[in-house]
C-alpha cells in the first residue's frame, strides 16, 4: 500500500503552478522564518523606504553542489553571497529578493532546513527578505534547489570607492585565511577524508565593511574573492590600475587544514573561492586602522596585509614566494571549480 503522507513530503509539479498548492507551500514551508511587513502582503513586489544615499543593486544565481556542505548550505550562501556583493560596493545591505527554482522530488524537510538557514543568515546580516518567487521544474531539469538572490543597499553620503584612485604604494588587505569555501566544497564532493576539519568560510561581511568605512580610512576598492579566488581579484586589479600587484606568499593567511586540503586536491589556494572574505585596497598609512576594524569581527580576526601595488613596465599580478622567487598569478581559466557558488 502506498503511504499517502509520503507523497506530500516532496516537491511536486503543482507546487509551481501559482495556484492553491503554491500558496500552501509558501505558507507552510517557505515564509514562516522570513516573513516581515514588506514581504507579508505577498504582492508582486515590495515597497521600501530607504535611507538617503545612492542605491546599489546586485544579483547572484546560486547553483552550488552539494546544497548542504560543511559550514553552510545554499540558503546561507545565497544570503551571504549577495549581501557581500552589495557591501563590496560600499553600501549597507538592507533588503533581499529571493527567487527559488525547486526540482520535483526535493525533500520538503531539506527545503525547510534551507529556508531556516536563509532566515538565520538574513538576521545575522541585518537584511530583510522583502519579496520572492518560487518555481518548480521537472526532475532532471534542476538539482534540488537553485536560489537567485538580489540585494539592495544604500551607499552613505561621502563614501566613494573608486579603483581609479588606486596609487602605487597602496596595500592589499584580506580579512582572514583564504580558500576555505572552495576547498570545503571540493572535499565534500570528492569525499576525501578531510571534510570534517574543513569548513566553508561563508559569512556576511556587511557589518565589517561598515566598520571599516567608519574608520575614515581611504578605502579605494573592495572585492570578495569568490569564483576565481584571490588570483582573479589581483588579475583584475592589475588590469584596471595599470600597476603591478605584488602579493607576498608568506603574508597570505592560509590555515594548516586548508593548506593540507589544497595540496591533496592539487589546487593553488590563491585560485580557490571564498565566501566570507574580502580584499580591500587602502593607502599604506591607513592599513593599521583597517586591520583593527576587521579584528573587531570574528570573520576578521586573521586580517592581514598581503601585498601592495608597485610601478612596473608591464602591469602584472605577481607572487613573491617564501624563498623570494617571483611567479605570475594568472586569472584561473574557470575550469577548476564549477558550481562552487
Amino acid at each position: 500500500m502506498k503511504d499517502p503522507k509520503k507523497k506530500r513530503d516532496v516537491i511536486v509539479a503543482a507546487h509551481g503552478g501559482g495556484g492553491e498548492m503554491t500558496k500552501r507551500l509558501l505558507e507552510s514551508r517557505i515564509l514562516p522564518g522570513i516573513t516581515n511587513p514588506a514581504l507579508a502582503p505577498l504582492t508582486d513586489g515590495a515597497v521600501l523606504d530607504l535611507p538617503p544615499g545612492r542605491l546599489v543593486v546586485s544579483t547572484d544565481a546560486h547553483v552550488i553542489r552539494p546544497i548542504e556542505f560543511p559550514g553552510g548550505d545554499i540558503g546561507r550562501l545565497a544570503v551571504c553571497g549577495t549581501v557581500n556583493d552589495v557591501a563590496m560596493m560600499g553600501a549597507r545591505p538592507l533588503a533581499l529578493a529571493l527567487a527559488l527554482v525547486l526540482e520535483e522530488g526535493l525533500d520538503l524537510a531539506v527545503l525547510e532546513r534551507i529556508m531556516r538557514s536563509v532566515a538565520e543568515s538574513a538576521e545575522e546580516a541585518g537584511v530583510s527578505i522583502v519579496t520572492g518567487d518560487t518555481k518548480v521544474v521537472e526532475k532532471g531539469h534542476g538539482d534540488g534547489i537553485y536560489i537567485t538572490t538580489t540585494g539592495v543597499g544604500v551607499v552613505a553620503p561621502g563614501v566613494s570607492l573608486d579603483a581609479a584612485r588606486i596609487r602605487r604604494g597602496d596595500v592589499l588587505i584580506v580579512n582572514g585565511s583564504i580558500a576555505e569555501h572552495g576547498l570545503a566544497i571540493m572535499a565534500a564532493r570528492e569525499r576525501l577524508g578531510i571534510q570534517s576539519s574543513l569548513k566553508s568560510d561563508v559569512a556576511p561581511l556587511g557589518g565589517l565593511v561598515q566598520r571599516m568605512l567608519e574608520t575614515r580610512a581611504d578605502v579605494k576598492f573592495l572585492r570578495d574573492p569568490t569564483r576565481g579566488g584571490i588570483a582573479g581579484v589581483v588579475a583584475d586589479l592589475a588590469e584596471t590600475t595599470g600597476l603591478t600587484v605584488e602579493v607576498r606568499e608568506a603574508d597570505v593567511p592560509v590555515s594548516p587544514n586548508a593548506r593540507h586540503a589544497a595540496e591533496a586536491l592539487g589546487l593553488d589556494p590563491l585560485t580557490v573561492a571564498n565566501e566570507g572574505k574580502l580584499v580591500a585596497v587602502v593607502p599604506q598609512g591607513d592599513a593599521e586602522r583597517v586591520l583593527a576594524a576587521c579584528r573587531e569581527f570574528e570573520h576578521g580576526r586573521d586580517a592581514a596585509v598581503i601585498g601592495r601595488l608597485v610601478e612596473a613596465e608591464l602591469p602584472l599580478a605577481e607572487l613573491v614566494t617564501r624563498i623570494g622567487g617571483r611567479r605570475i598569478i594568472q586569472r584561473p581559466s574557470g575550469a577548476e571549480l564549477p558550481r562552487i557558488c
Copy 2:
C-alpha cells in the same frame, strides 16, 4: 575527425567558473546588446541614482518551456514579467538585474538570440539591465536557460494603490483579450495544429500603467494575471476585500483563436496565464478614463470592464455566464500549467 570549432559553439562547464572563459562568454555573447554605463564596470553590483519616491523591488525566476515560443522567448518574458510586476505596484520600472543559469550544451546561437530579445524588450520597456550574474550547470541539471530578473522602480509621490480602499460598486478592467500566453505555450508544447495563429501576449505594461495613473483616476489595485490567470486574481480579490467579485463572461475579451485553443485543450480561459495583461480596480466613475488611457496603447486596444465588486453574504468570485447562470470561479490548483513562465 572532431571539428574543434563545433566544440566551442555550446556552453561548457568552464563558462561558469568565473575565470577567463566566463569573461569571454560575457564579452562576446551576453553583454553586447545590453551594455550601459551602470553595467559596464562589471563590478559586483550597480550604483543607481533614482528619482524621488518609494522604491519597489520585484523578482521572478523564469523557467518557461519551450524557451522560444510563438510571440516571444524566455528573454522577452524575463524582462516583461518583472517590468510588469514592478508596474503593478504603481511604480515606474527603471532597472533590471539579470541572473542566468545556463545548462551545458546550450547552443550559443540560441543564447545570443535570447540576449538580443532581452535587449530589445528592455529598450521597449524603457529599463536598463544594470547588473547580472551567469552560472553554468551540468547537462541534466537545467533546461537550456533559466533567467531570474529582479526589477527596481519608483512610485511617484502621490500614487498610492491600496486594495483596502476597494468598495462595492468598483469595477474590474482588463486591458485586452486574455489567455493567449498560456494557450500559445500549451499549443507549442502539445504540437497542436493551432500554433501558427496563436501568439503569447507577452509585453511590457509599464508605459500603460503610467498613462493610467496620469489620468488621476483612483486606481486602487493592479495585478498581472500570470500563473493562475484571471481566476487567481479574482479569488485573491474576494479574499482580500471581503466582497464578492462578479465577472461577466460576455464582457471578458477572448479572441476566437484563443477560445478555439482553450476548447481544444479543455481549459477555462479564466485560469490561463497572461504576460501582457493587467486587472485594474477603479471606481465605476473613473472607468471610462482608464479605458481611454489603455486604448492609447497597442496592448490596450481591447480594454474592457469585465466585472464589479458587490456585497454578498459570503465573499466569492463568481462568473455570470452568457445565459445568466452563476458559477464560482475557483483559484486553480496549480496542476494545469507548470513552467508557463
